[in-house]
Amino acid sequence: MQVRGGCCLPSNIKTGAVMNNNVMDKGNIIYRIRKYLRSAEGSAYYFILPSIVLLIIFSIIPLIVSFYMAFFNANMTLDQVSFAGLDNFKQAFSDKRFLNSLKVTLIFTALEVPIQVLGAMAIAALISKNTYTNKLFRAIYFLPVICSATSIGIMWKMILHSNVGFFTYALQSMGLGKINFFNDTHLTIFVVAFISIWRSFGISAIVYVTAIQNVNNSLYEAAEMDGANKLEQFIHVTAPSIRPTFWYILMTRLAGSLQIFDIIFMTTDGGPNYTTESTVTYIYSRAFSSSASMGYASTMSVILFVIIMTVTVVLYRRMNAEEA
């Protein structure tokens, strides 16, 4: 302020004053940053720094690179790269397999998400009290979450194998006929969805249990005094109280279902006749299995990213609106 007011000062003095002021400002900023980082609040950044670095290396940079590569034709080693412009996008929207994979992904999502979101909520309500039995059930439900998709895929392949599967054999022995779980174009997508739900059901249930346990007990007492039975308590007290958790699970499961890959890769690999080929499975096959078209695979990844981002943003806004 002094400098601005000192219009009659020689120019060299004015400039020097400005420089000194800038240096002082910079010094102040650095000092403030240092001070902030030394504070209890600021030191938290040191703890999240490793995660941020990993996030940048393994998520942010690949994301930016894949956006860039979507406009190129590139092989696996990235040494034969040519500009493709929007050609890859045009190709994607006229690629029958890609469009089919989007359809399969949507069907899978429509099957998995409602069961995950609502089913897990119902189960969570049943096992929310901290009894010994409930704790045991929680552990059982959570067990598949910690198993690898490879183990789960192999296990279910063995159990539901069309000819040598234990479950198939048991059904046949009971006179229910021979069900070809993995080789029926109308049935297999349901089987894959079931395996996926079985695998990740536990995590949704546990999140709900935590949310239910945090509901104020006085609300239940008031409802009970009003004569509400357990079901009515669940509908009128529990469900409204855990709405933020509901939206969170809906959002994460939706994003997860749209990216389904591992279970399909391990069980059906997209078959029979592409009826379980999800978008990510197809992207993987374009990138690594056959033609190694990294550019085209990136294009499809970008399209999927836009779909998932749109869905997530819409749900996130809805969630925030609910909370507000």
Partner: protein, 468 residues
């Protein structure tokens, strides 16, 4: 202040050393390649100066090169492959043996990885990677620019080119350049369950030799009350489909008279015959509609199936009494539908590393005083047919019933796998086109001709990429 200066100096030193490291690794292939080129030029120049004694001069020059490289300090070469199975243990054992036996001071530093493709692509992109690579010859379509022409291996080592079956060498070659030296011939074979044959009143020692016999046997073996099927064709097993389809209708991509690639799906009566035969087997209940026949074969529920040699491990463990033969010949005639795995030397290798790799390949294929060699041991232990005529003549090979039944004694039979051996788009044909031939017919009641028309369009798109 002093601390700051010291830490600044240290940081600069570390950054400089990092950059130096990057620089040297990135420039290595180019330098090495030029080194190889210089050496070759020297050899040629020396040979030219003494035209009358060209052969002896070349020999002496080569041996001088070899001696120069081999009398230098001990050398370590990186060797990458994807043999993660039980055969990988044998590979480790053999490499260890070479490291302890060889007189050249060569150490082969082997890395077996289950993600060879991913590791190679990132390593090559960074100018790094192994000097010696063991892979399918199809890798030359992806990493061809990183593979050296190794056709001089027969001049620089004691290996006899005429001892190798020519069609396998052709499989690994492009024009006059050899990119891989065969290591393993991977084909698919017909396996049959002898006990089920016997139960069906068939000769358990003799598998079908024609597809008509195959259908007839399948019908006799099938027993739905016991969940037993005569035939084990598997729509989800693209490689099985490819090997079988080839027997019916020949190669899916060949060169036309003008030297351009052409796809051969449309109106291919052999291919139509195959899918109709498969559908007929499924509809008759003689073939299960499944994407996994391995489990059924090892469970004793399949009379016949077509698979690679790795199936025998599971059947041996399960105690299945089985026979092996080559896949019945179809309308396409006698052929070796096979893939050739081989050793290749990458552009990452220096001149000395290349020679060291040659020595390892030579050792692998050279008989010792006991009349055996790693190639023979590998062949009879793991059940892969030999790629050298001399191996087929050994008692150890002849007495091995398994490898003998896999061996096509007609060494003049062409070796291609579903497409002409030099067509780079083989993976796309196998993984993207063939399933669209078989699965719509099996699941959607699509006519074979319609499916073939769709496949022709898909294959035309793939072929067009390599005709430009």
């Amino acid at each position: 202040m002093k601390k700051k200066i010291i830490s600044t100096i240290l940081a600069v030193a570390m950054t400089t050393s990092l950059l130096a490291g990057c620089g040297s690794s990135a420039s290595t292939p180019a330098q090495d390649t030029s080194a190889v080129a210089d050496t070759d030029a020297e050899v040629e120049a020396k040979a030219d100066t003494n035209a009358n004694a060209a052969e002896s001069t070349a020999d002496s020059t080569e041996s001088t090169d070899a001696v120069e490289a081999e009398t230098s300090e001990p050398i370590t070469i990186k060797f990458w492959n994807g043999f993660t199975g039980s055969d990988g243990d044998q590979l480790v054992e053999l490499v260890d043996r070479f490291n302890s036996e060889n007189e050249y001071g060569i150490t082969v530093d082997m890395d077996i990885t289950s993600s060879l493709d991913e590791e190679l692509s990132s390593a090559f992109a960074a100018g790094e990677g192994p000097a010696l690579l063991l892979s399918s010859s199809a890798y030359r379509f992806t990493y061809g620019q990183y593979m050296q022409d190794i056709s001089d291996i027969f001049d620089k080592t004691g290996l006899d080119k005429s001892d190798f079956i020519q069609s396998y060498l052709d499989y690994c070659s492009e024009d006059d350049s050899l990119y891989l030296v065969p290591f393993q011939i991977v084909s698919f074979y017909l396996y049959w369950n002898k006990d089920l044959f016997e139960a069906a009143g068939l000769d358990p020692e003799k598998g079908p030799t024609t597809w008509d016999e195959y259908l007839e046997y399948a019908k006799k073996i099938t027993d739905s009350s016991k969940n037993v099927y005569g035939s084990g064709l598997c729509y989800g097993y693209n490689y099985q489909m490819a090997h079988t389809i080839q027997r019916f209708g020949g190669l899916a991509v060949t060169k036309d008279s003008s030297g351009k690639w052409q796809a051969n799906f449309d109106s291919n009566s052999g291919y139509a015959d195959f899918v109709n035969t498969y559908k007929q087997l499924v509809d008759a209940g003689d073939n299960p509609l499944t994407d996994d026949t391995d489990s059924m074969m090892t469970a004793g529920q399949l009379g016949m199936t077509i698979n690679g040699p790795w199936l025998t491990g599971g059947m041996d463990t399960a105690g299945i009494n089985y026979g092996i033969s080559t896949i019945p010949t179809g309308a396409a005639g006698n052929m070796n539908s096979c893939e050739v795995l081989g050793f290749s030397v990458t552009t990452v290798a220096s001149d000395a590393e290349k020679l060291a790799a040659y020595r390892f390949i030579e050792w692998w294929n050279t008989m010792d005083a006991n009349g055996t060699c790693p190639a023979l041991e590998w062949s009879v232990t793991n059940g892969y047919p030999a790629y050298m005529k001399s191996l087929m003549e050994t008692d150890a090979y002849k007495s091995n019933e398994k490898v003998m039944s896999m061996t096509n004694t007609d060494t003049s039979a062409p070796s291609d796998f579903i497409v002409d051996a030099s067509f780079p788009g083989i993976n796309a044909i196998i993984n993207d086109v063939l399933p669209q031939l078989v699965q719509p017919v099996l699941f959607d009641e699509t006519k074979a001709e319609t499916a073939l028309g769709e496949c022709q369009k898909l294959a035309d798109d793939i072929v067009a990429q390599y005709n430009n």
